[in-house]
Symmetry: C2
Subunit: 228 residues, 2 copies
Amino acid sequence: MHRTKVRIVEDALDANNTIASANRADFDRAGVKVVNFMSAPGAGKTTLLERVVTDLPGVRVGVLEGDVEGSMDADRLAGLHIPVTQLNTGAGFGGECHLDANMVRSAIPALPLDEIDLLLVENVGNLVCPAEFRVGEDARIMVSSVAEGEDKPLKYPLMFRACELVIVNKVDLLGHVDFDMDHFLHHLDAVHPGVEHMLVSARTGEGVDELRAWFAALPERAHAGAAV
Amino acid sequence: MHRTKVRIVEDALDANNTIASANRADFDRAGVKVVNFMSAPGAGKTTLLERVVTDLPGVRVGVLEGDVEGSMDADRLAGLHIPVTQLNTGAGFGGECHLDANMVRSAIPALPLDEIDLLLVENVGNLVCPAEFRVGEDARIMVSSVAEGEDKPLKYPLMFRACELVIVNKVDLLGHVDFDMDHFLHHLDAVHPGVEHMLVSARTGEGVDELRAWFAALPERAHAGAAV
């Protein structure tokens, strides 16, 4: 039984990667860079996107918003006058706890690829399954809030490995939570040696300039093969 | 394709419920009440358990600790001199993002059911899939931290419906995060009208007495059919 089960999972991941490659080819043809934003629920992805999308000079940004149901985050971001497309995993996809390549493929016809240079994909809040499913992105960003605790890289190592950038968010709370940054960075280095990281507060804006610079340099990164 | 997929999911949930009933029968025979603790990663389940298990007079507590991998939380709790059993979803269960009835069934032989009155099951940190899988519990507790934001009941309604008690944790951070308690409770009432809730800080101990009283009254609740 277990052998069969594992085989099915592997087949599904192979199929996902094939579709992810097709997505990537479509994005490349349109000249659109794609970043997959992942985190636990409530780590601050949407607030971070609000900070970033309004101030990337010369870059036309669009958002693909992934949620089990509802469109609260999409509605917040649409108020910033950028194109936002909602993708619900509850409608036709069984209420999945992550985005996969097939879901993103189904959304491509609704994306204004000719009108944007950068597509930010906000994944479903979850520290397990999103790490297993590429969607055709150039790079993956993992957001971890200091309120979640310094042990998270050790408890969810796949997620912290499956990214090119780790954002440690809500650093404005550092004086109010039991979180030792040195311990966190030590744990992070243990599971993903050398991965780039930034200390940020989406709430106060601290550190967000560094993230904007990262986005501005994304085309060169992707070209140089630094991003996958 | 979608019809087939949904059918498989329904069959899997039926099978899960059958195994959950078998688990429940085993727990009932042993006279052990079982509570399923669910939350997002980093909401404070383990710290809350540390607060509770050390001060439930006359109740012998055991913990079944669910994680994708590792035993950090189990090690923390074992230091409190209670029986702790680790259940990893990464070992033989494909790295699943939740506990299900079959996983808990596989752990039953390792549980000291004769030596405990109350088994606290700490689920994998996740706001989507744990809600779909009963494990044979008498009651489910959902822990939501104020650091995660007031919108969570609307974004993950199934999770907030699939519980008999909602604990709003980390209330010591209320002055430092953008969280309006009235809004949160309004959203909670919209998705699960009348569900019991408690405002708690596992860090400071605020509100934990009320939770201890809830556990002390659990046998009568289960007997009266208040819990499922």
